[in-house]
Symmetry: C2
Subunit: 363 residues, 2 copies
């Protein structure tokens, strides 16, 4: 008998039964009233999750595609931007900028630390005319939580720039108030806190951001926010959407609606606390991040341990997926996720599997 | 009791039970050997369907996204191209070109007629230095079949241009020989002949096309063929893929492998003949296209009939989805699909529903 597949990875995360059931239903055509109703429910429920009365757009793509969509819809060649980077996903925003010929001012922060608000303030004072500031809500590569509320306040105090937030791994796991915090564009993906299969990207777009979209001159077609908004008025998408994943998203969002966002954030808070208590008791290894988010816990492995082999063994022998470190952290840390539909018993199984193999080396 | 949902639409098409089952399985993580094996099987089976030994790339996107990916990966600003257009999807290639600042030579053919090979030859003689010629294998808006083999031969005789084919609705429904016909880039989507849910785009890329990719200067990141090929070597995708839809595609492709491409084309041939015989007998209305593909039959409605209401009634009252005309054909034709997992009994139910409502007006 194959071991039960337990995913403790920071995206994709496990799927609730109702989501799997929704995806297994025969397709409905996307130019029908029935699809329109489902699609509108997804958009409205996403406004609920985003805490916005503004427009929410849906795209068939990955989180990376959603990130790209923000860059190419808000900016024009020559625009000055600031990209704050706290890990692999901040670097991805930089790479997207470069791919489209933009030369952002990059504010790098040491991996494992959060964006320093005063560093951002100084950069805004130094660079006048910044069109947009890009930041991660949480960076999945390090598990760091950035103080988006404070950072957004500083951007608005010091400039007229748009605040663009990658909340691919943060949304629904950590408090985020799109409207109340003055966030202009918040992008996310379906496969983390939203408890759905990967395949959908979303963008919440403020009125101020729409003004930038109107004059943006970077080239786009597939991700053109204006075309997507136009179709949304007809309860449609401009191109054939990933209908099954939309059905899964509708089911997952019903669960989040029923739970409520405060309770959802509290659930992640509790789950993170549970994981960290257990990791401390059973492993006693140092945590990687200074300001950890409730999405995952990064744990530094002892020098002699081959982290890649450790996690590969656990997957092979016990069917439990745990993520390793990315780039220079490969083999050196593991990232135990506690987001979305991950349960306490999943965490317990994961920590047990780790403890069994790290006993003796932990001292 | 709700009527059985029958989809006679030219994408998405109905899903086989094994595809629905595959999509309802708990997710596996996309950075695992298990996913790698599934992904490689999809790529290899797609080579089988495409009839190519060349590279096949997979993207999480719609057919439109796959079309865009070909334009932005093969071309640079200022490149001269020819776009042959036989309907809405040829026009879409033109719009993608324009969105990226390209000014293609457009060869429009009357809706319902195929690309005239000699018109293309004359255009190639007149326009020297063309980098690529774009064409639809079948245009879903009209159901027309283009003679890709002949057209590709002419392009290679008259120029050094790449042959770029949109086979989103044609692949697996009509013969297509990527290598034998010298096609340089063939894009498709998962939701038509490939019998899967929408959400995946594919591109078959020839060696000659890769040379163009290497020097292409149009901006891209999410759809960057070089990044996608690099990850493919590691049995991965650069960004999180739509894992459930990949599982569905693997299951659907197993069916096509077992059937064989010749038998699959024959099945579509038989199904189209069945549909047209029945439509002639029961409706007796004129067909729209001069050179119809086996993907669908466009039928011209009598002047007094409101096609939009007709199809909306059939969907509401009998649960059968049939597509109407697009753009200027809205309300004037219907498009009865016979592609992918659509069966004879589905066709029979659709034609019955149409005949019931068109009796008396058909004379």
């Amino acid at each position: 008998m194959t071991a039960k597949n337990i995913m403790l990875t920071p995206g994709p995360t496990p799927l609730p039964p109702s989501v799997l059931e929704a995806m297994s239903r025969p397709l409905i055509h996307h130019r029908t009233a029935e699809f329109g109703r489902m699609f509108v429910s997804v958009i409205e429920d996403m406004q609920f999750v985003y805490r916005t009365k503004g427009t929410v757009l849906m795209m068939t793509t990955s989180g990376t595609g959603a990130m790209e969509s923000a860059v190419i819809n808000l900016l024009s060649p020559g625009d000055l931007t600031i990209v704050c980077t706290t890990g692999a996903f901040g670097d991805r925003f930089v790479n997207i900028h470069k791919a489209f010929g933009l030369k952002p001012v990059v504010l790098p922060f040491e991996w494992g630390t959060a964006i320093n608000p005063e560093t951002l303030r100084a950069a805004l004072k130094e660079n006048k005319g910044v069109k947009a500031v890009f930041m991660q809500h949480t960076d999945t590569s390090t598990g760091v939580l950035n103080d988006i509320k404070t950072l957004s306040k500083i951007v608005h105090e010091e400039s007229d720039a748009l605040v663009v937030v990658d909340s691919v791994s943060g949304l629904a796991c950590e408090p985020l108030e799109t409207d109340a915090w003055g966030l202009d564009c918040v992008v996310t993906g379906s496969q983390k806190g939203l408890m759905n299969a990967p395949g959908l990207g979303f963008a919440a777009v403020s009125e101020k951001a729409w003004k930038a979209v109107e004059v943006s001159k970077l080239p786009k077609f597939n991700f053109d926010y204006k075309l997507i908004r136009k179709s949304l008025a007809d309860k449609e998408t401009p191109w054939t959407p990933a209908i099954s994943i939309v059905a899964g998203q509708a089911a997952a969002l019903k669960m989040l609606r029923a739970e409520g966002m405060e309770a959802c954030w509290k659930r992640h808070d509790d789950l993170a606390a549970h994981a960290r208590k257990l990791l401390t008791e059973k492993l006693g290894l140092p945590f990687y991040s200074k300001n950890p988010a409730n999405i995952l816990t990064g744990v530094v492995l002892p020098a002699g341990v081959d982290g890649t082999k450790l996690l590969s063994d656990i997957l092979k022998e016990e069917g439990i997926s745990i993520a390793g470190g990315q780039l220079h952290l490969k083999g050196k840390i593991f990232r135990l996720a506690h987001m979305g539909y991950i349960s306490k018993s999943d965490i317990d199984a994961g920590v047990d599997a780790l403890a069994k193999r790290l006993v003796g080396v932990k001292a």
